[in-house]
């Protein structure tokens, strides 16, 4: 940690980790929404039938 | 069939001269802006001239490319052409050639204007310059016709065409500027051979891609 430019390394590492985690979070949320909607549509369908 | 299509595009243009007039006016306006906005020494101007020149031509080509395809949208002309017994790839070549012709004609007017207003010396080897210009125009028209065919069906296409065209055309632009600069510096062909080869590669690659793929782009 006492080496030079540690801040830069940390910045780069954090940017990458945060970006990847954010992407995972965004698509995870989308999956959740889609699954609830799918469930809703399925129950609607079975009610209609 | 190809001749008919190209002739149709050229005839439409000849009657209204919309595309050419807008290209030349816009090009002249930019050239004038260049002349007014900075007054560098003649040596600096010579350094920047190739880049400035090709930027003008790229901008005016967008006008031609956009207009050429959007004309087809009026009265649904495009679907009528599609229902004619012509191969789609031939359609691409007709757009390609007419785009090329528009660009060359516009350049014939704009280039002398450019040299005049920016007070540039004429290069010794005019034949080389003409060859390079013709090839680069082919390249711009190839990539541009393919891309404008693609974006024409999408909303906001006036913005999308330059947005997509400029990055794609960057290698061509770099090569054009480097070649033009070398010619204006009266350098022998060997010195800028690489750029010439790149231009030719670009033209070949995009002409082929356009020819092979335009089919898929223009289906309804």
């Amino acid at each position: 940690m006492m080496y030079k430019y540690f801040g830069f390394f940390l910045a780069a590492f954090l940017v990458i980790s945060v970006a990847i985690c954010s992407w995972i979070y965004v698509i995870y949320r989308q999956e959740k929404e889609l699954l609830t909607e799918l469930k809703r549509l399925n129950t609607n369908k079975s009610e209609v039938e | 069939m190809l001749a008919v299509l190209v002739r149709k595009d050229l005839l439409i243009e000849f009657r209204s001269r919309e595309i050419l007039i807008s290209m030349i006016t816009f090009g002249a306006a930019i050239t004038l802006l260049y002349a007014f906005s900075f007054r560098p020494s003649p040596e600096s101007m010579q350094t920047f001239a190739p880049g400035l020149m090709w930027m003008v031509f790229l901008f005016v080509s967008v006008l031609a490319l956009h207009r050429s395809h959007s004309l087809e949208k009026e009265f649904d002309a495009f679907s009528m052409i599609l229902s004619a017994p012509v191969e789609r790839s031939v359609l691409f070549i007709s757009k390609y050639l007419s785009g090329f012709i528009f660009l060359v004609v516009a350049q014939m007017v704009l280039l002398p204007l450019f040299f005049l207003f920016l007070q540039l010396p004429l290069p010794a080897n005019l034949a080389q310059m003409v060859a390079v210009f013709l090839l680069v125009d082919l390249g711009i028209s190839a990539a541009g016709s393919l891309l404008s065919g693609i974006v024409m069906r999408v909303r906001v296409n006036e913005m999308l065409l330059p947005l997509m065209l400029f990055p794609m055309v960057t290698p061509l632009l770099i090569s054009a500027v480097k070649s033009t600069a070398s010619i204006m510096d009266n350098q022998p062909f060997n010195q800028w051979k690489l750029w010439f080869q790149l231009i030719v590669s670009f033209v070949i690659v995009f002409s082929l891609i356009g020819y092979l793929i335009y089919d898929y782009v223009s289906e309804e």
Binding site: F8, A12, Q30, L38 | P167, I174, L198, E220
Partner: protein
């Protein structure tokens, strides 16, 4: 349909990825040697280069998916293409961010017009156009076809872009060219592990995203049936 991560295989992969992400970080910080001039900044390379590799891989997949979509006309290839384009562009952006972060202390200036960075920037811009076309087009088959074509044309342009930029600014050839085979084992194996982790991450995220796109397609289909 169920959630992607309810599957055993996905859970295992995700777990492995998380563990090895930490392992690589540990190795980078404690095991790899310190470059005398660049010190900690050099270690960015363990993340910057694999990101570039994944971006290129992503765009290659977009091209193949495009070709397959045009031939087979099966929607799943379009899903693959879109997912790969998203990931490719994400990692492209990461290359464009980590590059300047490294360059600022080492070269003094964050940006320079050297071939690799410039090529990556141009690819990034082309793909922004790709996403705009996808967004502004309607949901139909035509947009998918057009995207396939764009993905193919974009990738085929890459070698030309690279060569032209390489010879354009002959004075800006500053990008370090480490010969990987000549590096010491601590550097080499850590780099390889990082590359493996990034590749595995790419594949996992790609499959995850394709699963979601399939789900979305299903929901959209059902929505308009009911």
């Amino acid at each position: 349909m169920e959630s992607f991560h309810s599957r055993q295989s996905s859970k295992v992969t995700a777990g492995i990825l998380a563990v090895f992400w930490v392992v690589v970080l540990y190795l980078v910080l404690n095991v790899t040697r310190i470059d005398p001039d660049q010190q900690m900044a050099q270690k960015i390379f363990y993340y910057h280069v694999p990101s570039a590799w994944v971006a290129g891989l992503g765009y290659l997949v977009v091209m193949f998916a495009g070709v397959l979509y045009l031939i087979m006309k099966d929607e799943k290839w379009d899903h693959l293409g879109l997912a790969a384009a998203e990931l490719g562009t994400l990692f492209c952006a990461l290359v464009l961010i980590t590059g300047p972060i490294w360059a600022k202390p080492i070269w003094g200036a964050p940006w320079s017009w050297e071939p690799r960075l410039t090529t990556v920037l141009i690819m990034f811009l082309i793909y922004i156009g790709y996403f705009m076309v996808r967004n502004f087009g309607d949901e139909g088959e035509r947009t998918r076809r057009i995207s396939a074509v764009l993905g193919i044309a974009a990738f085929l342009n890459v070698p030309i872009i690279y060569v032209s930029v390489k010879f354009w600014a002959a004075d800006a050839q500053l990008h370090p060219q480490p010969a990987m085979s000549q590096q010491s084992p601590d550097v080499f194996w850590t780099f390889m592990l990082s590359l493996l982790v990034f590749t595995l991450l790419f594949v996992h995220l790609l499959r995850f995203r394709v699963h979601i796109l399939k789900l979305r397609s299903k929901v959209l289909g059902m929505r308009y049936d009911v």
